[in-house]
Symmetry: C2
């Protein structure tokens, strides 16, 4: 059990390490991220069996996740070596300007301070100990206190060992990355409310993410909390597409719902279409596709029990009927792939149907007509993603739907499914509340670094006191806005 004294000591250590680490050049931080990536790859043979045992995820899925994690670390390393991410702006002095001289002012991003990161249950590598929150915070020049997810403690410990080795190898302060494990609920509050903590990263449930956010707002000094929380990732299926490729869509959608036993934050939990004969055919095809799917054990007992409970509750709502289900043994912790349906009117009257059922569950909402479909689109809260499956011919009629969903999602997908989050600069993994607590920031891609920095202006600094990024002759060769011109 971690006490308040323990938390004080941990954050003091992290703060002291920050005073050193914040001045470590970007290229050296890049070396650290590469050393961590190499260390994880080097330990993969040891890590994978541990993670398989702790998460029930199959080896190919975890091996893919390890590759993704190392790829993420290296993308941040590349970003640091390139260097332009600091958003340098330079305006040189005009000492003779009237009525007052213009001073020399330069600006760049600097790190916030110690960041507390909470590991996620469903990604033991990519969103946990060495995941994107940690990678982006270290890239920013922040130190990290990582609270391991209690569902995979041994994996988390083994990854933390990689950090220790990498920091030692590069002669960086060992407290740059601190790893703690504690089953207690209070430790989260203590970590978030410690005065040395300057930002928080979290991936998980709405209740957990919102609680951390509220703790942070109750501090004397509020701090940013980046909670990536639940999402039902609506998919709108338009009439033209339904007519032309119903069976293909059913197969693609069923695969997306059931991928990794539905344990993705981008899992499509809601499918909306307008009632028609074609929809009847499609729903039968989708029910069949889902019915053919075999299940597997979910991440851990708690998640499986929660899925079973939420699924039962969802299926018992007014107007909801079961259309199809796959095979599996709920008592053995399997998540049974499930397709349910409901009419648009019943859906609009029951906000509970907007709740996420974390697992391989999806609800097909059959709208009476286009008006009802647009009302449904208007009733949905903020989402990580929203997809529209459409033919060219659909856009004339459904242009306003695209407008509506664009306001409510962080990523809009046309003719695709939401699962599969590409790690690249154009990926925004975030979205309006309640998908996240801050729609303005992404937890995937190099822009995730922006969560952990703030701008600092340097006015009238002698050259030798300026950071390399802002020296006049641009020794790092980065892109800068120099007297209103982009230059490097």
């Amino acid at each position: 059990m971690v006490s308040q004294n323990d938390v004080d000591e941990i954050l003091n250590r992290s703060r002291n390490a920050f005073l050193i680490f914040k001045n470590v050049p970007g290229k050296k931080r890049a070396e650290l991220l590469r050393a961590i990536a190499a260390g994880i790859e080097g330990s993969a043979a040891k890590l994978l069996p541990v993670a398989m045992r702790e998460t029930n995820l199959p080896e190919p899925r975890l091996a893919g996740e390890v590759a993704r994690t190392c790829n993420q670390l290296r993308q941040f390393a590349d970003m640091l070596v390139e260097g332009s991410w600091v958003e340098a702006r330079i305006d040189t002095a005009l000492p003779d300007r009237q009525p007052v001289p213009k001073p020399d002012i330069r600006k760049m991003m600097v790190p916030l301070g110690p960041v507390v990161v909470f590991g996620a249950s469903n990604f033991p590598f990519a969103y946990s100990t060495a995941g994107v929150d940690t990678a982006s915070a270290l890239a920013a020049g922040c130190t990290v206190v990582l609270k391991g997810h209690p569902a995979h403690p041994e994996t988390s410990n083994a990854v933390a060992d990689v950090f220790s080795a990498a920091l030692a190898q590069l002669g960086l302060p060992s407290d740059t990355f601190l790893h703690i494990q504690s089953p207690g609920f209070d430790v989260g509050r203590m970590l978030v409310q410690h005065p040395h903590t300057k930002a928080v990263g979290f991936t998980g449930s709405f209740s957990g993410g919102k609680a951390l956010y509220d703790y942070a707002q109750q501090r004397k000094e509020p701090i940013p909390v980046f909670s990536e929380m639940g999402s039902i990732n609506p998919v709108y299926l338009l009439p033209g597409a339904l007519k032309s490729r119903s069976e293909q869509i059913a197969g693609q959608y069923a695969a997306s719902v059931t991928l990794s036993v539905g344990q993705f934050c981008t899992n499509p939990g809601l499918l909306i279409a307008i009632k028609s004969q074609e929809l009847d055919l499609f729903s039968a095809q989708l029910a069949t596709a889902i019915g053919k799917t075999a299940s597997a054990p979910m991440l851990h007992k708690g998640i499986a029990e929660n899925y079973s409970k939420k699924r039962t509750e969802a299926l018992s709502q007014k107007g909801v009927t079961l259309l199809g289900q796959g095979n599996g043994d709920a008592d053995a912790g399997h998540g049974i792939p499930t397709l349910a349906t409901v009419g648009g009117k019943d859906f609009l009257e029951n906000p509970l149907l907007l709740d996420e059922v974390f697992g391989p569950y999806s609800l097909l909402v059959q709208a009476a007509n286009q008006d009802e479909l647009e009302m449904i689109a208007g009733s949905v809260a903020g989402q990580l993603t929203t997809s529209i499956i459409a033919e060219q011919s659909d856009w004339g009629q459904f242009g306003s739907l695209l407008q509506t969903v664009s306001e409510k999602a962080g990523r809009v997908i046309i003719n695709g499914v939401p699962t599969g989050v590409e790690v690249c600069p154009s990926m925004h993994h975030g979205g309006p509340f309640p998908a996240t607590t801050d729609a303005r920031f992404s937890s995937v891609g190099i822009d995730a670094v922006k969560r952990f920095v703030r701008p600092l202006s340097f006015q009238n600094f002698p050259e030798q006191l300026l950071p390399e990024e802002l020296k006049t002759d641009n020794p790092l060769g980065i892109w800068r806005l120099f007297n209103n011109q982009w230059k490097r």
Copy 2:
């Protein structure tokens, strides 16, 4: 008195206007900002006498502020015409990639929605009705609901008329900018807590700014609040500088403290130096310079009364003594220029001495030695600015001071005073809490637009559905990160 029904109607109108305005191209929004600037310049002969009467500020000061306001509007217009501010990132598809194809993803910034802006008392133009919050929100594509500051209602009305004319002239929705006035305290809460409100801009007191922030966090859907609040803008005067140019510094500092009767958020309220014979000389020079300053009426009666009360309270603290004061008639609403002093030990023991005294008041803290000076630097909370007056020879000894203050300020100034906020891209006007509620954003300069946007990813969009900024052939000619290369 504005009721909840009125607020509902206002935000509904703003929301409906947003549905149109968000799709207005950047170049057209630039025309709007230019038309507003031209309208303000065209009305200046009418606006200035009204503002002079309402704020007690002299004509040259207000004429300068009008010029600054129009300059700001035009800087945002230039930014929109140039277009790269949307941070476009494009990653094209790799359909043959193994093991899974890479989809086409593109990302850019989109507006948040209706923004509520609260006018400031001390800048009837530059931080009020047509100020930087309004300008940056409109630049972002957001609509604005402006609550005029009750201290200058006629000025605010006259500026609002300029918006109406500019919107009509360009055929844009009249509700793009809505102006309300209400003396009530409740209306602020209702505006911030209305579900259609998506962000808030405020410049003013800590109590006001923090209350709005808390209202926003109590919403079902929390929203960003950019409150720029109080700051005492510490100035550290190092021994070398004190030795070499004591009198020049005294004159410069006295001018900064008393400029515009001290009614700037960047007013230097705290001067810290190490006890010495040179400091005795300097403090006498500074007391003389302040004593020579004539006062003038403050913005309004409430501010003058508050200054008088806070000044009396500050002067009555343990160990605080009056060093010098200028001339003026407090009963006539003048703010009496005041220099007080206190020893480092008394200062460290009394947190009340860190409170802002809004007006021409400054406290010289005499530290016993370097250790005490560094302890004082460590005890200070977040600030808009921190200045260090130093000779080259001081840096060897005081490098760690620069490290400390850099963590606590949004702008660090060497050998200058904090007043005079240049409007340019490198200016960060913001800072760690309690200077603002969000250290990551500036309320001056074109980067202020970042407060009112969020990223949106477009995955697998057909060309004709993409915004101009993201079309493959780059019709706007903007800078974009295209497959990891900066191009335009």
